[in-house]
């Protein structure tokens, strides 16, 4: 673990791999250092951002040094089921690249428990990982000018859902009606770091009953607050200082 400074605005912690980044993020959400406003996990790093008027990077770095992240630990921020129609334009390519049949690609994608590792690219775009490595595929050589909202895609070790129409270079596996980013909702993002996701296969629209119900039939423990984000937020017992706004991903 390497602790790097971003002047008096942040502390960037570099780790060996995504697993370690997730473990560190989990430890930080549990015990956010004082003066940190945002925790930004990424593939090999976790950035702790301080107030834009500047903060005490030394104190934050010291607090990070005292953390003892447990490898394998991942922040839990709720569970989500995402029904997908697996009819993406790149499904055949993904099968060819992985050496699996198209049906097996779907089986692996629906069989794995995915975790949102971090967000980026656009508000509400989550990078999801799982322990199964069979679906690792490179990005497309050329990005598409427009990927439709709800597209479920693969790239590298990640799967993701495009929150809105945008250019994109990931390989399209299918699509979902689940709206992953909605400002009318609190929190607006369904895919927050630590949220566990199970993809389920949904038949093509022609065979669906009541296909008009665009209100996505997703069961979200995270939203109901049964055990999800609420639990992460509600877990801080008797600790009030510094952590108020650092509940990354909630």
């Amino acid at each position: 673990m390497r602790v790097l400074r971003c002047a008096d605005s942040g502390v960037l912690v570099e780790v060996a791999d995504l697993d370690e980044a997730l473990a560190l993020q989990a430890a930080l959400v549990e015990d956010p250092p004082r003066g940190v406003t945002d925790i930004v996990p990424a593939a090999r790093t976790v950035l702790l951002r301080m107030h834009p008027d500047g903060g005490d990077a030394d104190a934050v770095a010291e607090a990070v040094g005292r953390l003892r992240p447990r490898r394998g630990e991942r922040a839990r921020a709720g569970e989500l089921e995402v029904p997908v129609q697996y009819d993406g334009e790149d499904l055949a390519d993904i099968a060819a690249l992985t050496g699996l049949s198209e049906r097996d690609v779907v089986a692996v994608h629906t069989g794995a428990e995915w975790t949102v590792a971090f967000c980026g690219f656009a508000p509400g775009f989550g990078y999801l990982v799982c322990d199964d490595t069979r679906l690792h595929v490179p990005r497309r050589g050329e990005a598409r000018a427009r990927v439709p909202p709800g597209a479920v895609a693969l790239a590298g070790e990640f799967t993701g859902i495009y929150p809105r129409a945008s250019p994109g270079g990931w390989r399209l596996l299918g699509r979902t009606d689940v709206v992953t980013w909605d400002l009318e909702r609190d929190p607006p993002a369904l895919l927050r770091p630590g949220v566990r996701v199970r993809f389920t296969e949904e038949p093509p629209p022609a065979r669906r009953r009541g296909a008009g119900s665009a209100a996505a039939p997703c069961r979200t423990a995270a939203q109901n607050g049964e055990q999800g984000a609420q639990q992460v937020n509600g877990r801080r017992s008797g600790r009030s200082e510094g952590g108020g706004r650092a509940d990354a991903g909630s």
Partner: protein, 284 residues
């Protein structure tokens, strides 16, 4: 409730406050006033609570009309100020009667001016902030001609001063303090020395996301790609061609190019006032 009508917007005017915090993990940036110092000064002049929303005008040109009596202050880039055609002073408390027009001319130096009103602009907050994030397209849409911005209820405190000394604005050169890293080890041995000994000019391809600089290229030590990582305001991010971009309020939450050094928080506001053509010098 009083309100303010936008008569002319100038090049770009947006509503800004102290920014959006706590949502970076969802890919939502900090945004907020690019020059936090001038923005805070405007609110302080009016005894507004910290974080009251103001207008940020780029290169002046903003014309506002009071609907009802409005108390206002103009800070930041020192643009000529007129109320109903008469000269008025920046960095003071201005009393605008109903129907009065506040006119901001083009500032001779600096880039961004702030118009605060007593009570703040009461537009709907998005994710806890009234700031417009121009990169993510989040927050209140930039006002157009005819947009009416409601003014919030006046704060309990009364303005304590009616004038503050303005800070000097850079003309041609600006010196900014940096701390090397976090990725200075991704660059050639001499790169940091080049950064600290050369003048970098702010180009016209600059906006609220960042100031794109021209000057000697900073070359990288080897190949390899940096996995995207979190960024802070003030970061000097260096794309492959070697000319740094100085990240400002609407910078992306994560970036895939290495950051050679970061401008200290107190100097980022000054950097946000550097108009194209200004030479930046970086020192430790």
């Amino acid at each position: 409730m009083p309100a303010v009508e936008v008569v002319r917007t100038g090049a770009l005017s947006t509503v800004q406050d102290s920014g959006r915090r706590g949502h970076a993990a969802l890919g939502v940036g900090g945004s907020g006033a690019a020059d936090r110092t001038s923005y805070a000064l405007a609110n302080r002049l009016l005894a507004n609570p910290e974080g009251a929303a103001a207008l940020e005008a780029t290169m002046g040109g903003l014309v506002l009309r009071a609907r009802g009596a409005v108390t206002a202050a103009v800070t930041g880039a020192p643009c000529p100020v007129e109320v109903d055609g008469r000269g008025a002073a920046a960095d003071t408390v201005l009393h605008l009667p109903d129907g009065a027009e506040l006119h901001l001319g083009a500032p001779p130096s600096g880039l961004r001016s702030y118009v605060a009103v007593r009570g703040g602009f009461d537009v709907a907050p998005v994710l806890g902030s009234r700031s417009t994030d121009t990169l993510a397209g989040l927050g209140p849409p930039p006002p157009q001609e005819g947009t009416v911005l409601p003014v919030g209820p006046p704060p309990r405190d009364l303005p304590a001063v009616d004038w503050v000394p303005a800070r000097p604005f850079p003309e041609r050169e600006l010196s900014l303090r940096v701390v090397p890293g976090p990725r200075d080890d991704w660059f050639d041995d001499g790169a940091l020395g080049v950064l600290l000994s050369s003048a970098y000019e702010v180009t016209s391809r600059s906006d609220r996301v960042g100031a794109r600089l021209s000057g000697p290229a900073l070359s990288r030590r080897g190949g390899g790609e940096l996995p995207s990582e979190g960024m802070v305001p003030g970061s000097l991010q260096v794309p492959p061609e070697g000319r740094p971009v100085l990240f400002l309020a609407d910078h992306p939450v994560t970036g895939g190019y290495p950051v050679i050094a970061v401008v200290v928080a107190a100097d980022v506001s000054r950097a946000a006032q550097a108009r194209p053509g200004t030479a930046l010098r970086f020192h430790r």
